[in-house]
């Protein structure tokens, strides 16, 4: 019984411990005052969520959900169509264009090796896209698998839980510094860090989902009539966890954008001469007084990206509690 007692507080409480922008109110098994109480509240909501699944799509079509979707989509398109939007290449060094201030020709100015900063910012989005849509789902998959394993196989539970604890105990940025020291700068350490950071969140989420759902009458009934474990998992547990997983996915994507740009900002991310939003910002910091647009442009893109995913998570998460 100890495990289920912990579930209402633990996953909710742990989620916001990664990068600070994790929002408890938007976190799955949410830390709303109600959820902090008896454990039965969350699963009941989940059951309701299954019944009204199509409404999830609707929350993304108005209000903050729509705004988030537009932000993410818009920035994605900017990255995708970068070659059409700018006459320069991302690593093209334009003769004589050294540290030019922002102008009609170069909206964000040029950098110290004569590249157009706007071009680099647009192409820089692509790195984030890669991290968001490859590394995060990979981490989610691994975490979900680990969480399922922990919930279904008793002996594995303790080990998996402690491994999650250990990963969570390292602040992500410090973890990133360590991993990069071993692997060298580049896209690989970013992937490793993002995947490692995401695993415990998804793992804990699924584990607690399964443990609480297992106690519910309809699952017990299925067990009683002889349904196999995997059938129950596929038929009842995963569909009922889908929505919190979706919320966590959106949150994790915003964290991934943050992590990538923060690592690049610290000089332990993407390798030069490839562009990354974080690198551009880091380079621009020393020239804030003379070329503020060089920093402000990429800052807006990063913020928009992070904000967009957060809004999507909030919209879906908030609807669950109504």
């Amino acid at each position: 019984m100890t495990d289920t007692v912990q579930t209402p507080t633990r996953p909710a409480a742990d989620a916001p411990t990664a990068p600070e922008q994790q929002l408890p109110t938007a976190t799955p098994a949410a830390a709303t005052p109600a959820a902090a109480g008896p454990a039965s509240v969350t699963p009941a909501e989940d059951v309701a969520a299954v019944a009204t699944a199509p409404r999830r799509r609707r929350v993304l079509l108005h209000g903050r959900g729509l705004f988030g979707l537009l932000l993410v989509g818009g920035i994605l398109l900017l990255g995708l169509f970068a070659p059409l939007l700018t006459p320069y290449g991302p690593t093209e060094q334009i003769p004589g264009a050294n540290l030019l201030p922002a102008s009609g020709r170069h909206l964000f100015g040029t950098d110290e090796v004569n590249r157009d900063v706007l071009t680099r910012a647009l192409y820089g989005i692509r790195v984030d896209v890669l991290v968001v849509f490859v590394a995060v789902p990979l981490g989610a998959l691994l975490g979900t698998a680990a969480g399922t394993l922990a919930a279904l196989i008793r002996p594995a539970d303790v080990a998996v839980q402690r491994i999650f604890d250990v990963i969570l105990a390292f602040p992500p940025i410090i973890l990133a510094i360590g991993v990069t020291a071993i692997l060298g700068a580049g896209i690989t350490p970013i992937f490793v860090v993002v995947v490692a950071v995401e695993i415990p969140y998804f793992g804990r989420l699924l584990r607690s989902s399964i443990l609480t759902l297992r106690e519910l009458p309809f699952v017990e009934a299925a067990e009683a009539i002889g349904a196999s474990r995997w059938w129950i998992l596929r038929r009842h547990i995963l569909p009922n966890s889908a929505e919190p997983l979706f919320v966590q996915l959106a949150l994790s994507m915003s964290i991934a954008v943050f992590l990538e740009s923060a690592m690049s900002f610290l000089g332990i991310g993407v390798r030069p001469p490839e562009p990354s939003l974080g690198t551009i910002i880091a380079d621009a910091v020393s020239d804030l007084d003379t070329a503020p647009m060089q920093a402000v442009g990429p800052l807006l893109l990063v913020t928009g990206f992070v904000l967009g995913f957060q809004l999507i998570a909030q919209a879906v998460g908030a609807r669950r509690r109504i």
């Binding site: 060094q93 700068a185 390798r271 030069p272 001469p273």
Partner: protein, 526 residues
């Protein structure tokens, strides 16, 4: 920045209600040090010089001159026997008053000053000369001085007369005064304190007061200094500020009057305000930026590829854009004032894309070449990216491999670079033979390029063993070394870059040695 139209005080008054900013009204840290008035014509005694530098002290590396904390400490606390003027290699007296060399070049007799005492109060004698040279060559230090081979060639020191030291050599040493300019005199009684960083006792104008790791170094005036009336300053307080932007900010706000480690762009920006800041270009204390090649790596064994690289690099662009015009392009390591400098030889690989393309075409298909650089300084990344673009333009593809300083040094020592690399080297500002027997990338016997050649080895040894490093015979030998370097081309020089310092106009009399050690013996604050 000063002329934004709104006075700070009124702005503060306006913002006064906003909680934390209220504090700013008490006394602003931005205004704290006040604006600098221009320096008066006569030196003024007193005052503590506040300095910001980016590096922390690593006591066991004291003999390496490897970072700004070490060079500042050596310059303040210690002194050498002789000293070169910054623009030549003609030795001048310092702790040694005069000297005579034997005709065979196998010994050197130094007359020492008799009015010098260590900070501990003990008199300086010839025994200290012997001790310091031995310590410099001693392997028990974690990091040894680069002139080790020369220090080891000093076989014995005759110390019978406390005010005369007779140095005996294994063979003539054309660069002996480089060693005497570099080796600083340490106190034998307190040498263990150096290794732990507890104390540094020398004979210099300032005494070491304290070191707080990662935070500060404090020095006080040496009241018993042998130069009468010097130093003017009461003390020097050095703050260790690893962030170069923060260093520039401290200069701008007047919290410090002198800084090292400011980026070329910040120096350019600050020195535009001539009323507030002085730029000191350390002519005579240069470093060379270069592209090294591992001649055993795929394709790089072909000298035509190395020549193509040498032709392809747009050196003038790198000097003007990365180093903001501070320095000049070269094909050989020697700075312009060096006895080995030859303007003609220096044009051998002038920027010529057509020639580079032609050479690449002759070679045929090329693999992608790894290009390693050190992430410690932004100028390396910028240089590497320009070189990468230059090489791409003539059909040579390279992939950048940024590594941190520790990894870079390990690969340099171990000759582990997989292709080409970029960093600074130094020692070309001294007697030319010092470079080829001491500086790691050029060492004929063992270098990071895996380059060996009997001709190069014999040329560099012949240059080193000249009795007089400035004689015509020696200069002829240096020319041979230069020819070898241009032919073999295992290092592609980009340019000679002098160090640059920025100080506020309150500070006058700032000086330096050829190893960029801080010299504020004659400095004063307005």
């Amino acid at each position: 920045m000063e002329n934004n139209g709104i006075s700070r005080r009124s702005l503060l008054a306006g913002l006064g209600a906003g909680g934390a900013l209220l504090l700013a009204a008490c006394s602003s840290a931005v205004d704290e040090a006040g604006s600098g008035a221009s320096a008066g014509p006569t030196p003024k005694a007193g005052g503590t010089l506040k300095v910001a530098i980016p590096d922390d002290l690593i006591p066991k590396n004291l003999f390496t001159n490897s970072n700004t904390a070490i060079t500042a400490l050596i310059g303040l606390v210690y002194e050498s026997l002789t000293r070169y003027p910054n623009d030549s290699i003609e030795p001048k007296p310092r702790l040694a008053k005069s000297w005579t060399a034997s005709a065979d070049g196998l010994s050197l007799t130094l007359q020492l000053r008799d009015d010098v005492v260590f900070h501990s109060g003990r008199a300086f004698t010839s025994k200290d000369v012997e001790f310091s040279i031995k310590a410099y060559a001693d392997a028990s230090w974690h990091a040894q001085g680069q002139l080790q081979s020369t220090a080891k060639a000093v076989t014995s020191v005759d110390t019978t007369d406390p005010h005369q030291a007779v140095l005996h050599f294994a063979h003539p040493l054309g660069n002996i005064f480089d060693l005497l300019d570099t080796v600083f005199i340490i106190d034998s009684e307190t040498v263990e304190d150096i290794k732990t960083g507890k104390g540094f006792v020398g004979t210099g104008p300032f005494t070491f007061k304290s070191w707080t790791p990662n935070s500060s170094l404090v020095f006080e005036k040496n009241p018993k200094y042998w130069q009468p009336g010097r130093p003017y300053l009461d003390g020097v307080r050095i703050g260790i500020v690893p962030d170069t932007n923060a260093i520039a900010a401290q200069l701008k706000s007047g919290q410090v009057d002198f800084a090292e480690g400011v980026s070329p762009r910040d120096i350019e920006e600050l020195s535009k305000d001539a009323k507030k800041f002085n730029k000191t270009t350390l002519a005579g204390a240069e470093q060379q930026i270069y592209v090294g090649t591992n001649v055993t790596a795929p394709a790089l064994g072909d000298v035509r590829l190395r020549q193509a690289i040498a032709y392809a690099i747009d050196r003038d662009r790198i000097i003007s854009e990365v180093f903001r015009g501070n320095g000049y392009a070269t094909n050989l390591p020697w700075p312009k004032y060096s006895v080995a400098y030859d303007a003609e030889k220096n044009k051998r690989y002038a920027y010529n894309q057509a020639k580079a393309k032609e050479l690449v075409a002759q070679i045929g298909t090329l693999p992608t070449i790894p290009y390693t650089y050190n992430t410690a300084l932004p100028v390396y990344a910028a240089t590497a990216q320009i070189v990468q673009a230059n090489l791409a333009a003539v059909g040579i593809k390279v992939e950048l491999e940024p590594v941190d300083a520790a990894t870079f040094v390990k690969q340099l020592i171990g000759a582990e670079f997989k292709g080409i690399w970029t960093t600074f080297h130094s020692w070309a500002q001294y007697t030319p033979s010092t470079l080829v027997v001491s500086a790691y990338p050029f060492n004929a016997l063992h270098n990071a390029s895996h380059f060996t050649s009997d001709d190069y080895t014999s040329a560099s040894q012949a240059a080193w063993k000249q009795p007089d490093g400035r004689s015509d015979a020696a200069i002829a030998e240096y020319a041979k070394v230069s020819d070898e370097l241009l032919e073999a081309l295992f290092l592609v020089e980009i340019g000679v870059i002098p160090f640059q310092w920025v100080s506020s106009t309150r500070l006058s009399g700032l000086s330096y040695t050829k190893r960029w050690e801080l010299d504020v013996t004659n400095a004063y604050l307005a």
